[in-house]
Amino acid sequence: MSDIQNLITIVMVTLGTFFMFVGSWGIVRLPDFYSRSHAVSLSDTLGILLILGGLMVYEGFSLNSAKLFIALVFMAHASPTGSHAIARAAFRGGLKPLFTRTENREK
């Protein structure tokens, strides 16, 4: 039982750190604001959900697990909403997405 718990925790936390690493990589490598926001919002949300889920599995059925579950639900709502608000504010503020390829093709 404990071995299975440890295995699931290791897999989920490793996947979560992988996704968060991909998100951080995206914020360094991608060219403009919208693609960066896309990379970091999706993969960071999934990463933190996987890490918290893995820790819940490790903790078992206890009060700490319930607290982790509350944190998980909070992150699942707050993180996409924050990204949405920032990207929407940028769009309403008149920031244009980067479209070099298509602009060249139209010309």
């Binding site: 909070f74 709502h77 707050a78 909403t81 949405h84 608000a85 929407r88 309403r92």
Partner: protein
């Protein structure tokens, strides 16, 4: 004044999350004397739950939750609670904030008394921080609105 374009997603999520942030702020204040946390952190969370709705929905809707005029009285109440506990110890013959001499509750002495009186102080600090942070935000916004009216 510039027209607000509100996102329904931000509006709904901030309105749903705000009470839970407030509850967690109260939890952090109430458990501050024997676990990580305390009055300042919990008060900042309480203020954040109010300011979240203020940022997302605007002052008019947020006034239903926390009125603009409440900020300063709440801060004064918190500071008065803090100094009340401190001066009560002086009144009972000890030094300022010496909890050993805070004999307002009969029959409670020693560590239990210290724990209770530090809890009262935490609540005072939390209320003061919440009131002052919200009123700082409101004052800055009021200045902005006045400048836009001119």
């Amino acid at each position: 004044m510039k027209e607000r374009d509100e996102s329904p997603i931000v509006l709904i999520v901030s309105r749903i999350l705000s009470p839970f942030i407030m509850l967690f702020g109260a939890y952090v204040i109430a458990h501050g004397h024997y676990s990580p946390g305390g009055g300042f952190q919990g008060g900042a969370m309480l203020a954040a739950s109010v300011l979240l709705v203020r940022l997302a929905a605007g002052s008019r809707i947020s006034e239903l939750q926390f009125k603009r005029a409440w900020g300063t009285p709440l801060g004064i109440a918190g500071v008065s609670l803090f100094f009340g506990v401190g001066l009560a110890a002086v009144l009972f013959g000890g030094q300022f904030l010496n909890h050993e001499f805070f004999h307002l509750i009969p029959g409670v002495t020693g560590p239990m008394l210290r724990s209770l009186s530090i809890l009262v102080i935490e609540v005072g600090v939390g209320l003061a921080v919440m009131g002052i942070l919200v009123s700082i935000y409101d004052d800055l916004l009021e200045e902005d609105e006045r400048r836009e009216d001119l």
